[in-house]
Amino acid sequence: MTPKEIVIISGKGGTGKTTITSSFVWWLREKGKKFVIADADVDAADMHILMKPEPIKEEEFVGKSVAEIDDELCTYCDICRQLCRFDAIYVEDGIYRVNPFRCDGCTLCEIVCPVSAIKMVPQVVGSWFLSQTPYGPMVHAKLNPGAENSGNLVTMVKHQARLLAEKDAIPYIIVDGPPGIGCPVTSAISGANFVAVVAEGSFSAIHDMERAVETARHFGVRHGILVNKAGINPENESKIEEYARKMEIPFLGKVPFTRCVMDALVEEKIAASSCADVRNALEGIFEKILEVVDGA
């Protein structure tokens, strides 16, 4: 069985992706559906706050390598420092050192060093986890602060989620996507069966929603748009609907802006389980998503 992958993205951060994704998870469980949860927002993971995962397996994630200079071999010829295009090599008390945050891992210094005093050392940039939650299995990850390669870590999260779903014949993978349209997002939507773009009635959200849609189109992934926090700016919200109509994108629906959602999140509860009007609005949205995904 090939699991169906549904990814929730937004473009702009803070539109309510995790609120929607966790509600989707809650709703699917209420319907008796089986699924794997994947938190692909590795830079700022927060699904775990609502899902309460119990880790079963943890694995380090190795990112790019960083140069290290062996002072005992170094002859202070200065070639590496001069050639480094990232100004990552500096001299301190007469000793040549590498700034790991500036080093890009390009290996030029390792190549040009006449006495092989430099070697590239792989860096652990985070961890990924396979966990159990009250809703089902979850694959998630944590990137170290300031670490790069989040796109690769997202690929690993999704890959492990797919392997797990195939192994246990689980029909769906629900992916809480990252914001923006960079590498983590392209990794998150790669190969997805459906992408739900969460917008809200602000100018920046509309702008970034359009870019998220373009990204999904570029990768040939089916997508739809939903408006969260509806009621804040009805005029802008109707612009979103108009955009969807004009671009022939399925408009999935609107989720009302209510204080109840804030209260639920403060108590670490899932919005759909606590707020009836949100639940009712989301019901129709989730039915539409499953219709598209299952109909395919």
Binding site: G63, T155, H159, S190, G191, F219, G220
Partner: protein
């Protein structure tokens, strides 16, 4: 050591440079069949992501690694769940024209 073990050992040296793990431990190789007598090897390769930017290179590295194993006469690599599977298979066929 049987031919199949040698093939697996060779594949464990083919690394996905993005996830920095080998293709065996990442479970990217499926349906590995090795005929110990004829030396014919067939396998299916599925990249970690549908739009994996290095899927074609990895497919070629997989085939070249298996071809180098002593006793292997023929290698068939099928690529699945990959945006550029058709292009990958054309390159793989071209590898057979070499030597």
């Amino acid at each position: 050591m049987g031919l199949k073990s040698k093939v697996i050992e060779a594949l464990m040296k083919v690394y996905d440079p993005e996830l920095r793990k080998d293709v065996i431990s990442l479970q990217l190789i499926r349906d590995l069949k090795v005929d110990e007598e004829t030396g014919h090897v067939s396998l299916t390769f599925r990249p970690t992501a549908f739009t994996c930017p290095i899927g074609i290179q990895l497919a070629l590295m997989i085939k070249q690694a298996v071809k180098k194993v002593e006793g292997v006469k023929k290698v068939d690599v099928k690529v699945v769940d990959f945006a550029w599977a058709r292009q990958a298979e054309e390159y793989l066929k071209a590898l057979d024209q070499e030597n």
